[in-house]
Amino acid sequence: MGEHQTGWQKALYEKTGQDVYFWNFVFLMVFTAIEVGAVYLSLTYGATVFALVSVGIVKFFGIAAFFMHLWDDERELTYTFVFPFIFVVILFLGIAFTTPGGVAGLPAWCSPEFIGSYSP
């Protein structure tokens, strides 16, 4: 933990008087502000999504790497944490990003016209 950090983290501490957790905290706050700001900048649809996704990834990294100190811990823990994301991706591909083949051909209970009766 904090006491025996090395390399750039130590340099950061010596230079600023604050350790990496503090700067990570500041960094996350700033990015949250950017996130909220991006929505009000009346960007295009694509740019908004891009901004939100990229800021989300950056903040995710900040928390996982420093608050959860995966950066300093054994690599095995990072693998443990990343491993389920493979299955999340499979789940996204299968559930979120597939198209029902012929919506018109689906049974009635699966169409938007469905009003709650099952009589065949």
Partner: protein
């Protein structure tokens, strides 16, 4: 998650598992039968079970006799088993929130409805309702040209009313398309404010947990100062977490009463259940925190057993992590 006594002279039983399970059953039974009383009793029994559990852990001093076992062999050799355990537990949490997002994205990507849209566009062309020269794809694009949602009026024009009649409306003239929470939340800054403050509160609370851990591990500090510091940082975390929950309930109340955004729509169901599930994670974290604060209050933390705070922190940071994704996905976009 401690291990109990492992000398050879016998095995220490625990009433906690059976009490907590009984509480869960009563809780779910009460909820199923819509009985607030039974639900509350169940919750009390469940928390009683958890406290029974922690009571056995209070004297935990970080020694192997008290259950802090080291792992051996690949992949976690030399690490505390509890640390491996909490990371393995977080794998499940990743899948939990992954499933929430998968289901939510299925709604947001709209593949289901978009296919119908293309279908209807083609139908409009076939029956000459659409403007001359239009293709199914051009109508589709026109319908989706707005930022958030397909605009009903545009689709109506492009398809000669076909979409409006048969697709966006059911027989009872309720709009089928679901407006998502972000439309209401970002429309007014005052509505967004609680969500934004919550984001700051959670990040700040993550930071205070780290500070508590650092204080507990600091051998240079006088024990009395140390205990006080640990307790105060943890109490700060508890306050920030409580603030989070209060603001969230306030914001739900606002959305329901001022915007009529309720669980009676699909988007509303997703919004309230997903943010609610995150709220439950926060609540569980706060229940755990009360035990940690109590133990800090009686001076139970030192550098030998402070890793418990670290493992709690991992959970708490993960809750923060989930919020970092939920906030843009549900509040901003």
């Amino acid at each position: 998650m401690s291990y109990g006594d492992h000398d050879d002279h016998g095995h220490h039983g625990s009433w906690a598992p059976i009490i907590a399970s009984l509480g869960t059953m009563i809780f779910l039974y009460g909820f199923s039968e819509a009985s607030m009383g039974i639900t509350a009793i169940g919750l009390v029994v469940l928390i009683w079970g958890l406290f029974t559990w922690w009571k056995g852990d209070l004297p935990f001093d970080g020694s192997e006799k008290m259950g802090e076992l080291k792992s051996y062999g690949t992949p976690f050799g030399g690490m505390n088993i509890r640390k491996a355990g909490i990371w393995l537990f977080l794998m499940s949490e990743v899948m939990i929130f992954g499933s929430f997002f998968g289901a939510y994205m299925r709604m947001r990507t709209n593949w289901n409805t978009h296919w119908t849209l293309l279908d209807k566009a083609q139908e409009a062309i076939d029956s000459s309702l659409a403007a001359p020269g239009a293709t199914a794809k051009s109508i589709y694009k026109e319908c989706l040209s707005e930022k958030h949602t397909p605009m009903i009026t545009q689709c109506e024009e492009a398809t000669g009313g076909l979409v409006n009649q048969t697709f966006w409306h059911t027989e009872s003239s309720t709009p089928v398309y679901q407006h998502v929470a972000a439309e209401y939340i970002t429309a007014d800054f005052m509505t967004l404010l609680p969500g934004a403050i919550n984001t700051f509160a959670l990040i700040l609370s993550s930071f205070t947990v780290v500070l508590a851990l650092k204080a507990a591990k600091n051998v240079d500090l006088d024990p009395k100062v140390r205990d006080k510091k640990v307790r105060n940082y943890l109490a700060m975390t508890l306050m920030l977490g409580t603030l989070f929950l209060i603001l969230k309930l306030w914001e739900w109340n606002h959305l329901i009463h001022d915007y009529d955004f309720t669980i009676s729509t699909l988007a509303g169901s997703f919004f309230y259940v997903t943010t609610g599930a995150h709220g439950v994670h926060v609540f569980v974290g706060l229940v755990f925190l009360t035990y940690f604060i109590y133990k800090a209050h009686i001076g139970g933390w030192d550098h030998n057993n402070a890793q418990s705070i670290e493992y709690y922190g991992l959970y708490w940071h993960f809750v923060d992590l989930a919020w970092v994704i939920i906030f843009p996905a549900f509040y901003l976009y």
